[in-house]
């Protein structure tokens, strides 16, 4: 009898199931691997960043070496020099100041992940909280929530972000706040709709008859049932935040003195006529791969969690 009591339910929860479904699809498996690789690169970049800051050195990715500028990627040089060492020395080439492109891309990945995570930490709690309140209580509370998000949504997003970036000052803080404070609207809308769907279901009414308070019901009963929506929202807004950051940095308002992908693209754009194709190519490729795999995984997650698509 005791063993039976302790027996775990073998389904492994809804999230485990969804992950298994995702892993079974080769394309999504590749995307997950790409995302993991980028995450590792970002972690490595963070470690490097912290190391140089602690030891007060000029970081390797910022070291200017005019002797070595405009070096094409390692494999291109390999075909002229036939020296194997060239393959590993500056594998993705150097830019117009002789800085290593590969190292800078790693730093860019670090910033991209920071932006994705920090803006989510601002936008998701804000959107979930307001969406829950509006959806569950309805009436006047809901009107206030809808009014707030309609107002934010009616402003052109990019302009709003740029305005915040200007007010807070150049730098990543402006990017975090700008993206975080504009993109919660979508989260809020989705969560509000889900809460409205759930609040009149019998299990919620049963909880009310039990005598539970509204906040207990919201967070203990309804939220676990719509948690998958939050995961989907995260995976879909992450790449959007990354590309927005790249664009703002490209405009010169984002990261300062740090090799964000946007700054690199802006820099590479000016050198393209000198035949320096590699910086632009590899940065764009990195951005493309990261955004694509997040988007594909987000779509697949949505499918995996959608009960209507299940057999």
């Amino acid at each position: 009898m005791q063993e039976q009591c302790l027996e775990q339910n073998d389904e492994g929860g809804v999230c485990g199931q969804a992950l298994r479904v995702l892993w079974a699809r080769p394309l999504i498996r590749a995307c997950l691997v790409v995302m993991l690789l980028f995450a590792l690169l970002a972690g490595y970049g963070e470690a490097m960043f912290q190391y140089y800051r602690q030891t007060d050195q000029t970081p390797a990715y910022q070291r200017v070496d005019l002797q070595k500028r405009y070096q094409p990627p390692g494999f291109v040089r390999f075909f002229t020099t036939w020296s194997a060492g060239d393959l590993f020395r500056h594998p993705l080439g150097t830019d117009n100041l002789g800085r290593d492109v590969a190292l800078r891309i790693v730093q860019g990945a670090r910033i991209a992940f920071q932006v994705g995570v920090v803006t989510s930490l601002i936008a998701i709690p804000l959107g979930v909280l307001l969406g829950c309140l509006g959806g569950y209580f309805g009436g006047r509370t809901d009107s206030v929530v809808v009014w707030i998000y309609s107002t934010v949504a009616s402003m052109p997003g990019l302009l709003f972000i740029l305005a915040i970036a200007v007010v807070v000052g150049k730098g990543l803080m402006g990017v975090y706040l700008g993206i975080g404070l504009t993109t919660w609207v979508g989260v809020c809308r989705l969560i509000r709709g889900e809460v409205i769907k759930h609040r009149d279901l019998p299990y919620v009414q049963a909880a009310r008859v039990m005598g539970h308070g509204p906040f207990y019901i919201l967070f203990r009963h309804i939220l676990p049932n719509i948690a998958h929506v939050i995961i989907i929202v995260f995976s879909l807004r992450f790449p959007a935040a990354v590309s927005t950051e790249v664009f703002i940095s490209f405009l010169g308002l984002g990261a300062q003195n740090e090799p964000s992908w946007g700054i690199m693209i802006n820099n590479a754009r000016l050198r393209l006529w000198q035949g320096m194709w590699w910086e632009l190519t590899f940065v764009t490729l990195a951005l493309f791969l990261l955004v694509l795999s997040f988007n594909l995984t987000g779509d697949a997650l949505r499918d995996a969690f959608d009960p209507r698509l299940k057999k």
Binding site: M1, Q4, C5, L6, E7, Q8, N9, V14, L201, P202, Y203, Q205, A206, A207, R208, V209, M210, G211, H212, Y216, H221, P224, N225
Partner: protein, 334 residues
């Protein structure tokens, strides 16, 4: 001498839903789901409430437990008017007033395991401590005829009948005086229905429970109920001891309901077959609400509204019809 209160006394209860129309959502009318219902029930008794779909049975139940706001009237539970109570004051009342819902599939939270579902209320009301949950849950499951292996399972792993047992265990956990069963067995197979009804009757005897048992199915209600109330379009048309209502129905509507129960002998009695649908509760007919569908209706029925009156001075047996004494007697083979 202490004043004795009925367990539940409802007095001219009205639950109307506003119908909003137009640009500024003006209130254009009301759906009178429950329109002037009065009833009372004693402790330890089971009251069956029958009527066809849309007659306001469920709204009545939901108003009693506070899921809908009443428009007028009063509900006294143990002598306290629970309609005028704040949510805070209502909390101790909720312990004694529980409900079992119709749909066993959506009335249990799919993300909570059985132990959490059935002990959550006891923790909320401070009846047990968190670490006592397991023993309490095992006891409750035993009460409803389930083994302890169910503790850590999730609702989707159970069949409809088992889920309804879990729902009953949840309602039972607070040791209430009254459990309202809103079509609690309607969604189950007939064989499972019998099991669940037997379980309910067994629990009633063991725990001294009272039920307000709501169903559209008279044959189910007569098994379990001591008293039957018949509801039509937001109002009660007949009430009385279960056996009396089944054997000698007085109101034409009750007769129609009873003649709709299929019988095993295959002989058709003088069946009373109703035509048409229940009229819209937003525009109830004048006079007697049943008169457009009643084969015995007269002009008086269309003009005056009959009120519930005791038959032969018997307070238990009440009917709201002008003509129940003059219409042909109803033969039943049961």
């Amino acid at each position: 001498m202490p004043v004795m209160y009925s367990l539940l006394a409802i007095d001219h209860l009205k639950t109307w839903f506003p119908v909003r129309r137009g640009l500024f959502s003006r209130v254009a009318g009301h759906v009178r789901a429950v329109d002037g219902v009065s009833m009372s029930m004693e402790k330890g008794k089971t009251v069956g409430l029958v009527g066809e779909s849309g007659c306001g049975k469920s709204t009545l139940a939901r108003t009693i437990v506070g899921l809908e706001k009443a428009t007028g009237g009063a509900i006294h539970f143990n002598g306290q008017n629970i309609l005028s109570m704040s949510a805070h004051a209502m909390k101790p009342v909720r312990r004694n007033l529980q409900m079992v819902f119709q749909d066993p599939f959506s009335s249990l939270n799919p993300r909570m395991n059985v132990m959490d579902i059935i002990t959550e209320g006891m923790v909320e009301h401070g009846m047990i401590r968190r670490r006592e949950r397991k023993t309490e849950a095992v006891r409750l499951l035993q009460d409803v005829g389930m083994g302890p292996h169910a503790l850590h399972r999730y609702p989707h792993e159970f069949s409809g009948g088992q889920r309804q047992r879990i729902s009953i265990a949840r309602a039972l956990s607070l040791q209430p005086q009254l459990i309202i069963c809103d079509e609690a067995v309607s969604a189950l197979d007939v064989s499972i229905q019998a099991q669940v009804i037997n379980l309910l009757m067994d629990l009633r005897d063991r725990h001294g429970l009272s039920y307000l048992f709501i169903s559209h199915d008279l044959s189910v209600v007569r098994h379990i109920a001591d008293t039957i109330l018949v509801m039509y379009l937001g109002g009660i048309v007949e009430q009385g001891p279960a056996q009396a209502v089944i054997d000698t129905p007085l109101h034409p509507y009750t007769r129609a309901l009873i003649s709709a129960i299929p019988s095993m002998d295959g002989q058709s009695k003088n069946r009373l077959i109703l035509h048409g649908d229940v009229p819209s509760p937003s525009h109830p007919p004048s006079g007697c609400r049943f008169h457009p569908r009643c084969p015995y209706a007269t002009e008086q029925c269309a003009k005056q509204e009959p009120i519930l009156t005791a038959e032969n001075g018997d307070k238990q047996r009440q009917v709201a019809c002008f003509h129940y004494t003059t219409i042909p007697p109803f033969q039943t083979t049961r």
